[in-house]
Point group: C3
Chain length 349, copies 3
Amino acid sequence: MFIRNTWYVACTRDELHALGDKPLGRTICNEKMAIFKGPDGKVAAVEDFCPHRGAPLSLGRVCQGHLQCGYHGLQMGVDGRTVSMPGQRVRGFPAIKAFAAIERYGFVWVWPGDQDQANPDRMPVFEFLDHPDWAYGGGLYHVQADYRLMIDNLMDLTHETYVHAGSIGQPEIDEAPCETRVEGDRVITQRFMQGIQAPPFWQMAMRAQGLDPQATVDRWQICRFSPPSHIMIDVGVALAGHGGFDAPADKKTYSVVVDFITPETESSHWYHWGMARNFKPEDTDLTERIRQGQGRIFNEDMQMLQLQQENLSRSPERKLLMLGIDAGGVQSRRVIERLLAQEHHGAGA
Amino acid sequence: MFIRNTWYVACTRDELHALGDKPLGRTICNEKMAIFKGPDGKVAAVEDFCPHRGAPLSLGRVCQGHLQCGYHGLQMGVDGRTVSMPGQRVRGFPAIKAFAAIERYGFVWVWPGDQDQANPDRMPVFEFLDHPDWAYGGGLYHVQADYRLMIDNLMDLTHETYVHAGSIGQPEIDEAPCETRVEGDRVITQRFMQGIQAPPFWQMAMRAQGLDPQATVDRWQICRFSPPSHIMIDVGVALAGHGGFDAPADKKTYSVVVDFITPETESSHWYHWGMARNFKPEDTDLTERIRQGQGRIFNEDMQMLQLQQENLSRSPERKLLMLGIDAGGVQSRRVIERLLAQEHHGAGA
Amino acid sequence: MFIRNTWYVACTRDELHALGDKPLGRTICNEKMAIFKGPDGKVAAVEDFCPHRGAPLSLGRVCQGHLQCGYHGLQMGVDGRTVSMPGQRVRGFPAIKAFAAIERYGFVWVWPGDQDQANPDRMPVFEFLDHPDWAYGGGLYHVQADYRLMIDNLMDLTHETYVHAGSIGQPEIDEAPCETRVEGDRVITQRFMQGIQAPPFWQMAMRAQGLDPQATVDRWQICRFSPPSHIMIDVGVALAGHGGFDAPADKKTYSVVVDFITPETESSHWYHWGMARNFKPEDTDLTERIRQGQGRIFNEDMQMLQLQQENLSRSPERKLLMLGIDAGGVQSRRVIERLLAQEHHGAGA
């Protein structure tokens, strides 16, 4: 159950680059893809299935922008049509699927659904990614759970108190009420904590920003879901009484937690997580330290989600509760269902 | 195919204790349970499924006798009803299953079936467990085989000659006829070997008892099955000609091999094995040495049972032989089938 | 989909010998077999299923030519009939399957199908195996792929250029046309390369044969398929212009690549590979060096075939191309299908 006529993050630019002349094999929305750089250096994605004998093209290598099958040397073009094969006329070879692909914001994005509807104008905009005033660090986890369990997880940060008791959790999260609203296809869940002590991460950020880390602060968490399954979370603290999220720049410090959740199959997904921050963007050591800390924290969620998935798979008929704290996930799932219904009725995209 | 309205060993008291404030997750008769100590320190078992979002409660921790879910902090009571959850009224939350649990004889016992029928008076009695005149040592194996294959194994000790040729097997076992009888729901298979040399284990026990280890002895093995799947085996030697099993206390030495076989699924089980002995009960080193030896021996059965299970799963239609030596297992299975039929016809328990 | 009324290689003589008094358990054409040496030292194969309680006989040991079950000591004869069991009359025990087995050419061969049709006269003849003028070295791989994918692989050596680019591949293979013909149940695919430089392996062989390794040569590859799934490949080089394959013995050097492909299940097989050479047969170091090199090369094919199998299993309905270079595999599959149809219509064998 995933929207197909949309852009998903397939991998990072760096991940593809690190493979040199090898393509990357990855399954996105049940589509096995071989991702590579075409003749013009632009990213491309084709079905990971050689039309000759079914070998995975991702075992081959890229030769001047064509993907050469590692079995018998067939050369596949970015459009899914065979370019050449030793000793063969290839004109009659059946085409394989080609998927629209775009490199943007340091990621490779693919469109797994109807290719006629693929439209670069529908790429989401993230002004804080690939921007000189911001630094970004992140990573990738492969999670054996329905991607919607990760949406639930991120659209309800109450779990921080329990899952992340040792790092970013603090009792005030539980105590502050959260508020959820839907704006078109977007869902926003937010929570404000007033007049509290900053937790260690934010004390560090305050210090970096030239603020007194011991000062009383107002803290915010604003989780923003947008289809198909991107979640950006505005997080930060401001000196108490200056307007919180809306405080002047010199009274606050903040970041965006970036979550690109890409379905692999019905019960597994790729989770690209990271943080974009606009304080000390030039400090690459800090980027790496934050990245490692965030990696540890997000890793704590993995076991929970995977065992939750096992439980749900055992009892698929069982109804779950939908409480106030779950409203973010519940509303996000409704948006997905609505868009899925549109997609199936042809009104989609 | 297992009896459900009955008491099964779920774990040892020590295993639960070692977890501190963590619960124990274990599947018994296809029921996923989270086992923990309730507010009064009494053992409790509830379904391993948080009614909020299906997270496994066994990932949480115990707070003042309530089981706190590790995801969003819901607190579950021993009766399967939610006690509290941060920021929520929980009165309307659906209950989850709670299973009757008792701590006795150093084990935690659970009743996986109809809870209205759960009855502590139906707990079996084992006078040699948790008794100051007896010492007990044991262990736990997880076996990928139908629990009835383990019953077959233990109700026919002929296999000792082949599977355990290097330890407790001796040719006389094969040569002495075995005799099986049924007494109500109990099955007894016994074998007596007259005028033989004691094997190494019993020579050691004779020495501990002040008997001449080289003396000619009468040896016995009396396997006692009781439902659902407990097997106690009286084993011992007496100086020849003094009545064997019935010999006066100063002419013999003996133990009870304890086997609690608890189905996990249709094709796997938990096997708590051990030995209770009434010689030198204060010698904890001896307890540990016996435990290790027994662990090695029972481990030899594991591969056989697991590969036997694979063979049987491949050919479920195939008829097996039921020979005289198999009578113990065959009769035990008949008792189980009879009780199962009663259970299904509502006359059970 | 495999022919059953035929001889397959089950294992090597050495593999069985190395087990001492233990039998070898192996599945051939979905038949689980226990292979051992009978009372006369002749190889035997019986179903790996004890008629008593279904234990795998391959966990037992061989006692004077009978296979003793490791569970309760039943002794199984080479004909699938129980010979004895402690304390039992065995006459009425059901027989298990026995499979015709022959030791020849350093291999154990079994006939998995209708035993009435098992006929040693139908054993194929390989004059270069177990022959004093030839040396043989080889190995065994267990491949998670339909055995016919291995036939395709070996009946089309075009893949050498891509899969084995670092060892035996050379561009001329791609450039030389291949030619396929069918002779009854046999399929021959051959390729001749004229006036080329010998690749490293053949330079070594030329040196061993007393030929100038830098000389221009004619090279040949003649792949010979015979049912059910044996492939022998004549490979060699001759000094250019002396007739190639037909050149006089002192002008050429050659070997036979030996491939015995034995189905295990529908999607896995045992692959016995090796090389028989008639130059320097006494040089055992050379045999071992060639064996290791060949093992490395054939290992390169394994991943490709296994992932190709995964792709095909995902899309079983998908049509593959059948190009000129595929003719060897395509024709071999047709022979198999024809023989299978005969087998199913009772005209088989």
